[in-house]
């Protein structure tokens, strides 16, 4: 089934913010907004849920800390507790200050890298990925709002978008729904 999307292009981020507010007030569904740079507060006016990536990062950090502790406890204390320069290898806690730099670094390493990878996976970013940009100008100086035309009256919607200050409005027919 073919679906229709309306692409409205703006050339000013303040105008875009205003338009997003108006479109949402009229209960049209915004599929996506493409901008060349982060527009401060856009997520709030679009009503997007806050990110949970910081929470994942915290948990990855705990994983890293656990890995560091288990690794060094096994290597330095359990497997081969050598006397290296008089350091007390009798129990983990006795020699812990020497392990803290590694515990710290692995916590940061896991928290940072796994969070970045999570970000790539969730936002579907990888090398050789086909760019999803509907209009090349949106990477330079234009802002594009994609609105689901759905069962709305296209003429009325176009008129409404024109009144919000859209510079260009085009109707896109998608071959297949995805």
């Amino acid at each position: 089934m073919a679906s229709k999307t309306i692409h409205a292009i703006y050339n000013d981020d303040d105008l875009l913010m205003q338009a997003v507010k108006q479109v949402r007030a009229e209960h049209y569904h915004i599929e996506e907004v493409y901008t060349p740079f982060p527009v401060h507060g856009l997520d709030k006016v679009m009503g997007l849920a806050p990110t949970r990536i910081a929470i994942t990062s915290f948990m990855y950090g705990l994983v890293g800390l656990t890995v560091a502790v288990l690794m060094m406890n096994f290597i330095m204390i359990e497997d081969w507790p050598q006397n290296i320069g008089g350091k007390p290898s009798f129990s983990y806690i006795e020699n812990m200050p020497a392990f803290v730099p590694i515990m710290f670094e692995l916590t940061v390493f896991f928290a940072a890298h796994l969070m970045v990878i999570t970000f790539y996976m969730r936002s579907k970013l990888w090398p050789f990925k086909k760019a999803e940009n509907p209009d090349v100008r949106t990477t330079d100086d234009h802002f594009l709002m994609a609105i689901d035309a759905g069962s709305h009256d296209v003429k009325k919607l176009t008129k409404f978008l024109y009144d919000t200050g859209a510079m260009e409005i085009s109707l896109i027919e998608n071959e297949e729904d995805h």
């Binding site: 910081a54 008089g86 200050p97 020497a98 803290v100």
Partner: protein, 463 residues
């Protein structure tokens, strides 16, 4: 304009009176002769004093006197000379304990005095940073900070009096001030302390203290004056003066703060030295100061006096509390780990005494100053919850007091420490005084500085 609630005034006065009673009774219960010490040790033999007396017991027999740092040496020599004579060593030990017990109320007073002085001084440094960095978020809090720094002149006078009392041998908390230690003909001659007497001598010590205190107070006086003049001005000249003065003050501050930490804290262990000590003291000072700024702001906001302070300002302060807690821990660990790792005897004694005699406060403060704030203030939403900030702030302040306690006490009272009447009395007294001075100062000027060029940005600050 803020008016001082009469309840708060009464509250502060009650604290001061109760605290003063605690301080005085601390001095009265300190023993004055070795016979009294013997009696006290006997009566404390059972009950809570038992582990203290066993600690004393091992102390009298061990040869670890140089680990004691200060008072130990004097008596170590006495004990060595009469090594065979059991009675003499017993007497020397009692005298040793007597000195520790006599030092205790003085140390308690000194720590509490320094603790609240550091809050005012840290706030002053933070205030200077806000000016020099031309911060856009904080001008609505400037009057709160100025109110807190109003305690600085009061604290400076009290501290200087305490230092003078030490210099005139009214008390013996600064061990190196004993003139016998630098006299080569004396049996108590201490070569190490004598070698440092170019820096650690009483007149120079007092001159330095006077310069530090005078410099800080001058900046505090003129920045406050300029800030109030700026309210009525029609250009930004007073702001510019403050900006330049802040930059100069920060340079002066970091130099004097470092030397101050050697003089007022590190010299309690005159055989020991650490290069990052000044930073370590600074970090503790800053985290307590920012905590107090946040707490006073929240209290004033609750009472409806800070119209333009919103959750974003509190959020920023909480981020600073979080960041400086970690910074403090970083320096604590860097100092501890380097010395633990290398384990050089003359350096490691500092931590040996602390871990053996102060285990709970020494490691407990890591929980209050690091684990607690990190877990509670990591979440962005929690930093905006005011009672969370207050709760964490109370724990951080308690931890920073312990921090100072563990820095000072081992060098002055050694194993005879306890957090009892003199310590709590001193805290209560200075807390009451602090609250009284700060909240009185807040009534002296409008709580919103008027013509600060960044004021509009600060009023609309939103994170």
């Amino acid at each position: 304009m803020y008016t001082l609630p009469s309840k708060l005034k009464l509250f502060a006065i009650i604290f001061m009176v109760v605290g003063a009673i605690g301080i005085v009774s601390g001095f009265l219960t300190a023993p004055s002769t070795t016979a009294e010490v013997k009696e006290m040790m006997a009566s404390h033999g059972d009950g809570h004093g038992s582990d203290q007396s066993t600690a004393e017991e091992s102390h009298s027999t061990n040869e670890n006197h140089n680990a004691e740092g200060n008072l130990g040496d004097e008596h170590a020599q006495v004990a060595n000379e009469h090594g065979e004579n059991a009675h003499d060593s017993e007497e020397a030990h009692l005298e040793h304990t007597l000195h520790q017990m006599q030092n205790r109320p003085w140390s308690a007073l000194y720590i509490a005095c320094l603790f609240f002085l550091f809050i005012a001084l840290g706030t002053l440094a933070f205030y200077g940073i806000q000016y020099a960095a031309q911060a856009g978020w904080s001008p609505v809090l400037f009057r709160v900070m100025e109110g807190i720094t109003a305690y600085l002149p009061v604290a400076s006078v009290i501290l200087f009096v305490l230092l003078l009392l030490s210099a005139f041998h009214v008390n013996h908390i600064f061990h190196w001030m004993d003139p016998e230690l630098v006299d080569p003909n004396s049996p108590h001659y201490d070569k190490l302390i004598a070698g440092k007497s170019g820096w650690l001598n009483v007149p120079f010590f007092l001159i330095r203290a006077a310069i530090f205190l005078a410099g800080w107070n001058l900046y505090r006086y003129f920045s406050r004056r300029n800030s109030i003049k700026q309210d009525a001005a029609d250009d930004n000249s007073w702001f510019k003066k403050n900006f330049k003065m802040s930059a100069g003050f920060l340079v002066f501050f970091i130099v004097t703060e470092s030397m101050m930490s050697w003089d007022w804290i590190m010299s309690f262990d005159p055989h020991w030295f650490s290069t990052l000590f000044g930073w370590y003291v600074f970090a503790g000072m800053m985290v307590s100061a920012i905590t107090v700024i946040a707490m006073v702001s929240i209290i004033l906001k609750k009472q409806g006096y800070l119209e333009f302070v919103n959750d974003s300002h509190i959020h920023d302060l909480a981020k600073y509390m979080f960041g400086f807690s970690i910074f403090w821990t970083y320096l604590w660990f860097s100092q501890f780990m380097l010395i633990w790792y290398a384990n050089i005897p003359e350096e490691v004694t500092y931590f040996v005494t602390r871990i053996e005699d102060y285990k709970l406060p020494f490691f407990g403060m890591l929980v209050t100053n690091f684990v607690f704030p990190v877990l509670l203030l990591m979440n962005s939403d929690y930093k905006r919850v005011n009672w969370f900030v207050i709760l964490t702030g109370v724990v951080i302040l308690a931890g920073q007091y312990i921090n100072l306690f563990v820095m000072v006490m081992p060098g002055t009272v050694g194993t005879s420490w306890f957090i009892g009447l003199p310590e709590i009395g001193s805290i209560l007294f200075f807390f009451g005084l602090f609250v009284f001075v700060v909240f009185t100062a807040l009534t002296k000027a409008p709580l919103l500085a008027k013509r600060n060029p960044f004021m509009k940005e600060s009023k609309h600050y939103h994170y």
